[in-house]
């Protein structure tokens, strides 16, 4: 579904990611992990088409994204932004409706079919009751769900997300990740109704959420993809300790994988 072939990209003339290749099948969640500055955000921006590639090719459903117009690209790839820049005067419904942009003409006129899709996206993210609220009146968790709803309305098979769980409390983190997982793995009911599984690439810091929700994990260090594989293959003390430059232990407990620092806090005497 997604093919990344030997891409390199720079930001402000500084090379950030180098020679990254990966393939991702339809209906899977890829979590990108790595220390700050390892190139996760740059990778997301590069495969979304907003950051020109220095080398390499990105293909979605076999098509090179460089040969697509912004509109064609937006029909294939939806990006869930970190909820930072948003128009406060818009209502939740208006924001979700703008997700239909790649399917609309210059005037932005929505059809009946668009309305149905907007409605479904609102419903799926539990935003129906909040539809007439101004974006500025929503909580951080609601705003994050709103942007997810907007990208659902966009209808693109590939979803890219940069740190969607930042600023969310534990409850919202879990519920957001739960929803993201379900987008890639629709229930039998949904599949019977023709819901297509989405493919998700997500940059994330929280290592403990990953084993629960990711199908694949990619570990980025210094702009290079060090490892790509199932969570249990990548989440090992050896790989993580060297990537984060910190002794880490990995605990398997009742089916969960937990990553913790091995050393006790320095200077703390009561433990």
């Amino acid at each position: 579904m997604l093919e990344v072939i030997a891409i390199s990209a720079s930001y402000n003339h500084k090379p950030i990611i180098e020679d990254i290749s990966l393939r991702l099948d339809k209906g899977s969640v890829l979590a990108l992990i790595g220390p700050n500055g390892s190139g996760k955000t740059t990778f997301i921006r590069a495969i979304s088409g907003v950051l020109p590639l220095r080398k390499g090719t990105v293909k979605v459903d076999g098509q090179d994204i460089n040969n697509m117009s912004p509109q064609q690209r937006a029909r294939k790839i939806a990006v869930v932004p970190q909820a930072r820049s948003f128009p406060a005067a818009f209502t939740a419904e208006e924001v979700v409706a703008l997700g239909r942009t790649p399917h609309l003409n210059w005037l932005g006129k929505v059809t009946e079919r668009d309305m149905v899709i907007i409605e479904e996206a609102l419903e799926k993210m539990d935003l129906t009751a909040l539809r007439s609220r101004a974006v500025s009146e929503l909580s951080g968790g609601e705003q994050q769900r709103l942007f997810l709803a907007r990208s659902l309305a966009q209808g693109s098979p590939l979803l890219l997300m940069d740190e969607p769980t930042t600023h969310l409390d534990l409850q919202y983190q879990l519920s957001l990740m739960e929803r993201i997982y379900q987008l890639a793995h629709p229930s039998d009911d949904e599949l019977a109704k023709g819901v297509q599984p989405r493919t998700v690439v997500i940059a994330i810091h929280d290592l403990n959420l990953i084993s629960r929700y990711a199908d694949q994990v990619g570990l980025l260090v210094g702009g290079r993809l060090i490892t790509l594989g199932k969570p249990q293959v990548v989440l090992t003390p050896e790989l993580l300790s060297s990537a984060y430059n910190l002794p880490l232990q990995v605990i398997h407990e009742r089916g969960f994988t937990l990553v913790m620092p091995s050393n006790p806090p320095e200077g703390r005497k009561d433990q």
Binding site: S69, A74, S85, F90, T101, L107, G108
Partner: protein, 344 residues
């Protein structure tokens, strides 16, 4: 989004506009009562003599002075408010206004340069003055945007400071030019204060093409402006050709401002006040905000002009002075509101 929500604002604003237009033609040194006004206009349309105006005095006042003035003011108000709304969307900045960001002064400088060469009332002047105003305005908006830009955004403070600086520069050059040309001095000064709205039918015909193109265009770019509110990167990810949308918006908003300035002088704050009131009442969707702002801008300028003509009658206050008196406190209020975050 819903039909019942979009119909009523248009109805309300249109009714206000009609009332303002009637007031504007009725009030003046000679007050024309409404029944007379109706009789004079309807019999003029039918081609018969009015029973309430047997000598045709009122008809002369209306067709020679007040109707063209009313139409000109309505177009200028619509152009200023429409371009103000578009600039606010373009810069994603609540304080963008053609006057505050210096575009009006740039247009003014261009217009004065052309006026020095040709009197604005000659056919050559009617064509060259708005063109020169457009060039001046376009140059100013580009300089201001370049100066104020920090990376990908245009912070409010920078925008206003750059606007003030460039605007002062343009005004200084304009003043220097006016001192040089003694004969035109008084006229140009009054014009600069927004007190020399060009009247008569030929300026109306001259401004019409600019206003029609600019306003139609601005009404049609509401959707791309909406998407641009998410920022450049998200707009691109939503499938908008960002640079093209921006240039079209700049060209249209600047054309509207230049037309307004060339035919009515510099009138500030209409472009700030009106879109804000509309946004507070009916939300931020630019597909609705821009046309509603135009109707509201036309109404507000007509009402301001009525005040300008009556407050110290028979003397007339330049209408730009009144808009500044009303607009400046509003500007400060918006400044405070926009600091409180949840409004813009």
């Amino acid at each position: 989004m819903h039909k019942q929500n979009t119909l009523s604002p248009y109805l309300i604003i249109t009714l206000i506009l009609i009332a303002s237009a009637v007031l504007s033609v009725a009030v003046g040194s000679v007050f024309i009562p409404l029944p007379t006004l109706w009789d004079v206009l309807s019999s003029a349309i039918r081609g018969t003599a009015s029973t309430l105006d047997p000598e045709g005095v009122y008809l002369k006042i209306l067709s020679g002075l007040r109707l063209p003035r009313m139409l000109m003011l309505a177009m200028v108000g619509a152009a200023l408010a429409g371009s103000g709304g578009a600039y606010q969307g373009l810069f994603r900045n609540p304080l963008a206004d053609p006057f505050l960001i210096g575009v009006s002064s740039g247009a003014g400088l261009g217009a004065v340069l052309a006026m020095l060469a040709k009197s604005p009332y000659t056919p050559a002047g009617l064509i060259s003055v708005p063109l020169a105003a457009f060039c001046g305005a376009l140059l100013t908006v580009l300089v201001v945007a370049l100066l104020a830009r920090v990376g990908r955004t245009v912070p409010t403070t920078n925008l206003i400071l750059a606007g003030v600086a460039v605007s002062s520069f343009a005004s200084a050059v304009t003043s220097a030019l006016m001192i040089h040309s003694t004969g035109e001095l008084r006229r140009a000064l009054v014009w600069l204060m927004g007190g020399a709205i060009m009247t008569g039918w030929s300026p109306i015909l001259a401004v019409l093409p600019y206003v029609l193109i600019a306003l139609t265009g601005l009404v049609l770019i509401g959707h791309p402006l909406n998407v641009l509110q998410f920022g450049e990167e998200q707009a691109l990810q939503l499938g908008i050709r960002v640079q093209r949308a921006r240039w079209i918006t700049i060209a249209l908003a600047t054309l509207a401002t230049a037309a307004a300035v060339a035919f009515a002088g510099i009138i500030g704050f209409i472009g700030l006040v009106v879109p804000h009131i509309i946004r507070m009442l009916w939300g931020g969707d630019y597909r609705r905000l821009i046309p509603l702002s135009m109707l509201g801008g036309a109404s507000l300028l007509l009402l301001t002009d009525v005040a300008a003509r009556t407050v110290i009658a028979p003397q007339e206050i330049p209408v730009g002075i009144i808009t500044a008196l009303l607009g400046a406190p509003f500007f400060l209020w918006i400044l405070k509101l926009s600091k409180a975050q949840n409004y813009w």
